[in-house]
Amino acid sequence: MSSRAPAILVLEDGRVFRGEAFGSVGETFGEAVFSTGMTGYQETLTDPSYYGQVVAQTAPQIGNTGWNDEDDESRRIWVAGYVVRDASRMASNWRAKRGLEDELASQGVVGICGVDTRALTRHLREAGAMRVGISSRDTDVEALLQKVRATPQMAGANHVGAVTASAPYTYEAKETKYTVAALDLGIKRNTPRRLAERGITTTVFPAFAEIDQLLSGSPDAVFLSNGPGDPATADHQVELTRELLRRRVPVFGICFGNQILGRALGLETYKLKFGHRGINQPVLDRHTNKIEITAHNHGFALKAPPVLEGQSGEFFETEFGRVQVSHVCLNDDVVEGLTCLDVPAYSVQYHPEAAGGPHDADYLFDRLIELIQQQEGAPTHA
């Protein structure tokens, strides 16, 4: 067993965890969050929504299946730091090409292993997500704490620019039936893949694309992707979405995209205490009264619309007409999806594309096709 350098993890409230260097040796900072998925670390690490975050994995054995060439959800690892209990020294899977640690090291990702991740998780659950630093270079706790406290907060952070594509690109379906323009706020590869399976060709646009550029190819719908940072800062995308709603362009948003649609409809966002990050979250789809087990990764959520007298809060009025809170999380009643009843738009707070996670919410891509079909012939793109 090669001996590892000692490492420390210091939270902004002064709590310290000790462990050993994992991945790249150095120092890193971000927002400490925990993710409860037992599979899919490769997908988690390459999910742009984790940009700026130090991810603690609650599953204790990480790296067992190594790193392969197929499961990356984007072009690189995005997490600011990685915290695990036990890092596997061996990769065992027929698709593995190299070890997780090699990949972390080659991408310069600083991690820490041997940490009591359960204690860390319990702390974050009680105290809330907060800023954190990891160092495997210098184990002076006080010095690291000062640095942690000097880093910016996640609330108010605009990270979309850091993760979005620099230029548009297209993911072709084998036989294109429809086209979708996707606004890349941190999109994962599995989204265009899921769309392509249904005959949808997706053109992915940078996050700051203007409406004319986005609609230049006369897409049948616009997709608002997931992404990192505080949705309260995404004013450009919110305005863009309001224009899409005005023009009755079908819109489907997920995660960050759900928050943008919500803001476009007049709802506010807020920061959850410690977020939803995992692949076991039960969501009720009010259309069907079915429960789906879903993949989540969100630290912010939409504030539920005010409950009017005599109403459940499920339906509310907006300047774009009536809207339904179509999905709710059964664990804590967080708003997990919106469906506009008078304009062609809907969104969910979680990840129907999964990767990692269960495929229960895959039907939401079918709903996009239904929405497009309903809109065919209706006046759009005015």
């Binding site: 067993m1 965890f17 925990f34 409860t36 998925g37 037992m38 599979t39 899919g40 490769q42 997908e43 609650t58 599953a59 204790p60 054995q61 067992n64 299946t65 392969n68 197929e70 499961d71 209990r85 036990d86 596997s88 020294r89 061996m90 065992s92 899977n93 027929w94 698709r95 009591d116 991740t117 359960r118 204690a119 998780t121 319990r122 659950r125 995992g278 692949i279 076991n280 979250q281 039960p282 009720l284 009264n289 079915k290 429960i291 087990i293 059964l330 664990n331 804590d332 999964a354 990767a355 990692g356 996670g357 269960p358 495929h359």
Partner: protein, 1106 residues
């Protein structure tokens, strides 16, 4: 969707006696189900023939029928109770098969009973291999290439097509009974031939070999709104080819990427929906080709299974409880998660720890049985451990198995072990493959080489290799410092393992002292279903070495109850029953109860049972650390801490720790370890008997063969020899001459190195008597007297017995009570004691006294309506018998020795696992009984007279009792006189008699006609063995010729009966009892009565408290 209002009364079927493949996990699931249904305000009627279950305690159902699980009996219960619905998915394959039979006989329809939690067509689609295969293919899954065959001709054609090796699986058998891998055409003939016979539908599946592939299981749940969740994924460390019950398994799966896992999940859910499992749990098994990831579906269980129990304990998600709620109409989102309280059961548990299950085998009980692990399950129990890493969980699990080898390096390598022979051994799956793999790696083999040999995934092997690296660090370090010891503890090393590597640390005690000096103690984490995302309200803990402990402070007086560890023959569910009773009684008396156990099958390890549950190995180290943590948690809260540790109820495992625990300062309550030891110590005990004026068979103690020979010669043969300090008759034999004695010593001294050999005069033809009693130091209470049906010499755990005694006179009973009281006071019992007597020529001999809960406690408690274990637990904590009488826990006056003439007779009969095993050559095992215990489970028959009660017990074990047909008789000379009467009764009842020459001649002289049959050895064309094998015989009565030499004669006849599944009686007393039973059954007198009715009769108007 809320609870169905149209259901008011549910019939629940249990799983009957414990057997290999179906153990106490179904008591756990059944108990949960009964509890849930009653909480929902439903009336519950229960049928289960197994008295040692918690579910058959009268308080768990409104009407509890300890009756045989047969179609006829259940019909009577249905007719009497008129339930609205039948819940049969929580009682294993036994209950499911019973439900299918009731359905097919039209009984459910006739009485308007709805089957809930399952659908007949779904059961067919799930269990019928061909239909299931079609389901899998329809939903886009893959299956091994295969064909279902109904004859040997079809088998041959299929094997030619697929090519050897192939897997052969009979349909509708449980625990994979009769399955096997065929490498040669001879294997094909043998396994398929047996399989066609075993299958109730004369059907076997022949399939492509996936030997060596990775094996996985998913536990799924579905509600009536078609919501589905995966409760747990389980990965088998042993590859395909080893039955999952015999495999080391780990949860969650360790070597799947999300892509592969989700594919498995998708296929699993699609199968569940297509099969149409109504509501509830099911289990699906998968195999993955490690080379290219091809995934195939192996099979499904459309019911709660052994793996469901494991998954429930592993995740904290109580599958059976939820399944019961789903069956009565709730949906997953309407059921709260017990552990978080705040979130619903509609979610998938996520683990922040690793769970390892290790099977427990008892091949030593069945000499001659092939110990190769195959697709037929052979293990009798299992231990589970949780740790924050795989290494930690694995090492804890290995030391939980109660084997001599308690983790790596705790026993020397086998003599003559080399890299070459170790690698060779790895090619055959066996008990302890991981130990062998470790040795191979340590001897220098690479992970790749070991993987090539045993097909265990390289990831697991590398984990073992890391332990070997750490071993090297420990061995070579200049000093074992804090950092190194911490590293070792974090990897799951026990103090004993570290001590084995560093002799200068002065053994386990030395390592412990060093560890405490360095401030290294475990912390306790919580099983919470959600990886700490939500707060947990259930103190279900496991140890690890990390930063933060989660033991909550509490100022209540605490009592620790030590459980019984993995089931094995001789120590099973009966001890868990007593432990659970102790918890119940002490909770009620106001104590905070703390359960420590490592057996995932049990009720005791349900987080609902005790106030706090520690899923920990039952070793000195692990138990004392739990004590320390709990005592601190009490003291820190200003409370008294742990005021008592109960060790007398969990059988040999906790008992073996008693003395060390007491020396370490733990407050052992109840009978003192010293008193326990005195009863076990021959010298002290003999002296006590002498003082009390009691008689024991002549005997002596020997430390060498020479001494043994002298003792035996002095007391005269036959003698009963055994190592001291045994439970379940481990290593016990009846020896008839000096040569056999020499052979025994060479084997037995290996069996128990620290203890001498005990030699006793063996009392031929004596009546054996078992007594359970209570004593508080002032007062004495006799629980019950059981008269064995088999003679002394058959292990009491394998004997059938009757309560109250059926032939003992009042004087003898008075004498028994007197002797037992003297012993209880003499030994200093504070709680339970079991005494065994032999009655020969009107002399009562004391065979042994065990001041602890015995295997018969649940039977006696059910038969007499007095909860002995509860009383024992209370006495241990200071209550008196007088107080317990006043409370109504014990009878207000009198006790189990004064049964009135109208008291019903309860009979205990045992289930023997011979059918499970084959020799390496594929022959059956000898079914003879002896002083070494071999049974896995027991049943109880209750009725107004012995014949009826015995008939019920026989029905409960075999599912049938021949009332006419052909009886084959061949008995030893000494039994020839006694056999005449029973055989004459059988003839009167319509049986035709086949007999061997000697026996036949005696019968003939008494006017009984018979057809002569040659012994197997005579080589004639039609002999006894072939006659039995052909299935022509309905009943076999054969007694071993005891007085003429070792009990080896006739084994071919007995093993043929085992293979052919023919009722086989091997004692003369058994033959008499069987005859009475057949007589009663053929008169059609079998009627059912609930335990509640029975207890009402026994205890009249006073409250029953069992």
């Amino acid at each position: 969707m809320p609870k169905r209002e149209d259901l008011q009364h549910i019939l629940v079927i249990g799983s009957g006696p414990i057997q290999i493949g179906q153990a106490c996990e179904f008591d756990y699931s059944g108990t949960q189900a009964c509890r849930v249904l009653r909480e929902e305000g439903l009336r519950v009627t229960l049928v289960n023939s197994n008295p040692a279950t918690i579910m058959t305690d009268p308080e768990f159902a409104d009407a509890t029928y300890v009756e045989p699980i047969t179609t006829e009996v259940i019909e009577q219960i249905i007719a009497k109770e008129k339930p609205d619905a039948l819940l049969a998915t929580l009682g294993g394959q036994t209950a499911l098969n019973a439900a299918v039979a009731l359905h097919e006989a039209g009984i459910l329809e006739k009485y308007g009973v709805e089957l809930i939690g399952a659908d007949m067509d779904a059961i067919q689609r799930g269990e019928d291999r061909q239909q299931f295969k079609e389901v899998v293919l329809k939903v886009g899954g893959d299956v091994p290439r295969s064909a279902v065959c109904h004859s040997m001709e079809e088998v041959t054609a299929t094997v030619k097509d697929l090519g050897l090796p192939v897997v052969i699986r009979p349909s509708f058998t449980m625990g994979g009974l009769g399955s096997g891998m065929a490498y040669t055409w001879e294997d094909v003939d043998r396994i398929a031939g047996n399989g066609l016979a075993e299958s109730p539908t004369t059907e076997v599946l022949i399939e492509e070999s996936v030997l060596g592939w990775k094996e996985y299981e998913l536990e799924l749940m579905r509600d009536r709104d078609d919501n589905v969740v995966i409760v747990c994924s389980i990965e088998n460390v042993d590859p395909m080819g080893v039955h999952t019950g015999d495999s080391v398994t780990v949860a969650p799966s360790m070597t799947l990427t999300d892509r592969e896992y989700q594919h498995m999940r998708d296929i699993g859910i699609a199968i569940l929906r297509e099969v149409g499992v109504d509501t509830g749990g099911c289990n699906i098994q998968f195999a993955i080709d490690p080379a290219d990831g091809r995934m195939i579906v192996i099979e499904m269980n459309p019911r709660v299974s052994r793996s469901s129990a494991l998954a429930s304990k592993a995740t904290g998600f109580p599958i059976a409880k939820i399944a019961a709620k789903l069956a009565i109409g709730y949906t997953l989102d309407e059921i709260p998660n017990d552990i978080t309280k705040a979130t619903p059961a509609a979610f998938e548990p996520t683990l922040d720890y690793v769970v390892v299950k290790v099977p427990r085998f008892t091949f030593e009980k069945f000499p001659g049985a092939d110990p190769t692990l195959t697709t037929t399950m052979k293990s009798v129990g299992e231990a589970m451990s949780l740790g924050r890493t795989f290494q930690q969980a694995l090492q804890k699990a290995l030391r939980s198995t109660e084997t001599k080898q308690a983790g790596f390096w705790t026993r020397p390598d086998p003599e003559g072990a080399t890299l070459e022979n170790t690698m060779e051994a790895l090619r055959t799956p066996h008990d302890g493959t991981l130990y062998t793999a470790e040795r191979a790696l340590r001897f220098g083999a690479t992970v790749a080489e070991v993987h090539q040999a045993c097909k265990i995934d390289p990831w697991f092997l590398d984990q073992v290799a890391q332990l070997i690296d750490l071993r090297g660090e420990i061995e070579s370090a200049a000093v074992v410092d804090e950092a190194l010891l911490r590293k070792a503890k974090r990897a799951g090393f026990s103090d004993a393992q570290v001590a084995a590597l560093r002799p200068e640390l002065a053994g386990e005690d030395g390592v412990r002292r060093l560890r405490h000096r360095l401030g290294l103690r475990p912390v306790y984490k919580t099983v919470d279903t959600c990886a700490a995302e939500f707060e947990a309200h259930t103190p279900y803990h496991y140890s690890t070495y990390e930063d933060e402990t989660e033991v909550a402070p509490s100022d209540r007086p605490k009592v620790m109850i030590l459980g019984s560890g993995p089931n094995r023959i001789g120590q099973g569910i009966e001890f868990d029953y007593s432990c659970v009773h102790a918890v119940q009684a002490l909770r009620e008396a106001g104590y905070e109860t703390i359960m420590v156990n490592c057996n995932p099958e049990t009720v005791s390890t349900d987080y609902d049972t005790a106030d706090r549950l520690y899923f920990e190995p039952l070793t000195f180290e692990d138990v004392t650390e739990v004590f320390h943590a709990e005592n601190e948690s009490g003291r820190n809260a200003g409370g008294p801490g742990v005021v008592g540790v109960v060790v007398q109820l969990g059988g040999q495992t906790p008992l073996g720790l008693a003395e060390r625990l007491e020396n370490a300062g733990l407050p052992i309550v109840g009978t003192s370890p010293k008193a326990i030891d005195n009863a076990e110590d021959r010298g002290v005990f003999g002296k006590l008997l002498h003082e009390l004026g009691l008689v024991a068979p002549a005997g002596g103690t020997a430390f060498s063969y020479e001494e043994a020979r002298e003792v035996a010669a002095q007391i005269g043969y036959p003698v009963l020899v055994r190592p001291s300090y045994v439970l379940g008759g481990r290593g016990m034999e009846i020896v008839y001459d000096e040569d056999t004695l020499a052979g025994y010593i060479s084997r037995a001294t290996e069996a128990s190195p620290e203890h001498p050999i005990l030699i006793d005069r063996f009392l031929d033809d004596a009546i054996e008597i078992d007594v359970d009693c209570l004593c508080d130091g002032e007062d004495f209470y006799l629980g019950g007297i059981m008269e064995h049906i088999e003679e002394a010499g058959v292990h009491s755990g394998d004997s059938s017995c009757a309560l109250p005694p059926i032939t003992l006179g009042a004087t003898v009973i008075e004498q028994i009570r007197d002797y037992t009281a003297k012993l209880a006071f003499g030994i200093g019992v504070r709680g339970l004691m079991n005494v065994q007597y032999a009655l020969k020529d009107e002399q009562l001999y004391v065979l042994e006294a065990n001041p602890r809960a015995s295997r018969t406690v649940p039977f006696v408690s059910k038969a007499t309506a007095v909860p002995l274990a509860k009383a024992a637990a209370r006495i241990a904590l200071g209550a008196t018998i007088a107080e317990l009488r006043a409370e109504g826990m014990l009878l207000p006056e009198g006790d189990g020795s004064d049964a009135g003439p109208d008291v019903p007779i309860s009979v205990k009969e045992v289930l023997l696992p011979f059918k499970r095993f084959r020799t390496v050559e594929g022959a059956g095992l000898d079914a003879v009984l002896g002083p070494e215990m071999k049974s896995t489970g027991e049943v109880m028959g209750i009725d107004s007279n012995f014949g009826l009660a015995f008939a019920k017990a026989t029905l409960a074990v075999y599912g049938k009792l021949p009332t006419s047909g052909k009886v084959f008789v061949s008995v030893a000379d000494r039994d020839k006189r006694a056999i005449v009467f029973p055989v004459r009764r059988l003839v009167d009842l319509g049986f035709t008699v086949y007999a061997t020459e000697g026996t036949g001649l005696v019968l003939k002289r008494h006017g009984i006609d018979f057809t002569p049959v040659a012994r197997h050895s005579s080589g004639e064309s039609v002999d006894a063995v072939s006659l039995i094998a052909s299935g022509e015989i309905d009943l076999v009565i054969t007694t071993p010729s005891a007085s003429s030499g070792p009990r080896t004669d006739g084994w071919e006849i007995r093993s043929a009966a085992v293979v052919a599944d023919v009722s086989c009686v091997t004692t003369i007393q058994g033959a008499t009892a069987a005859t009475q039973a057949i007589e009663s059954a053929s008169r059609g007198e079998i009627r059912v009565a609930s335990l509640q009715e029975l207890h009402q009769r026994l205890r009249g108007s006073e409250t029953t408290a069992v």
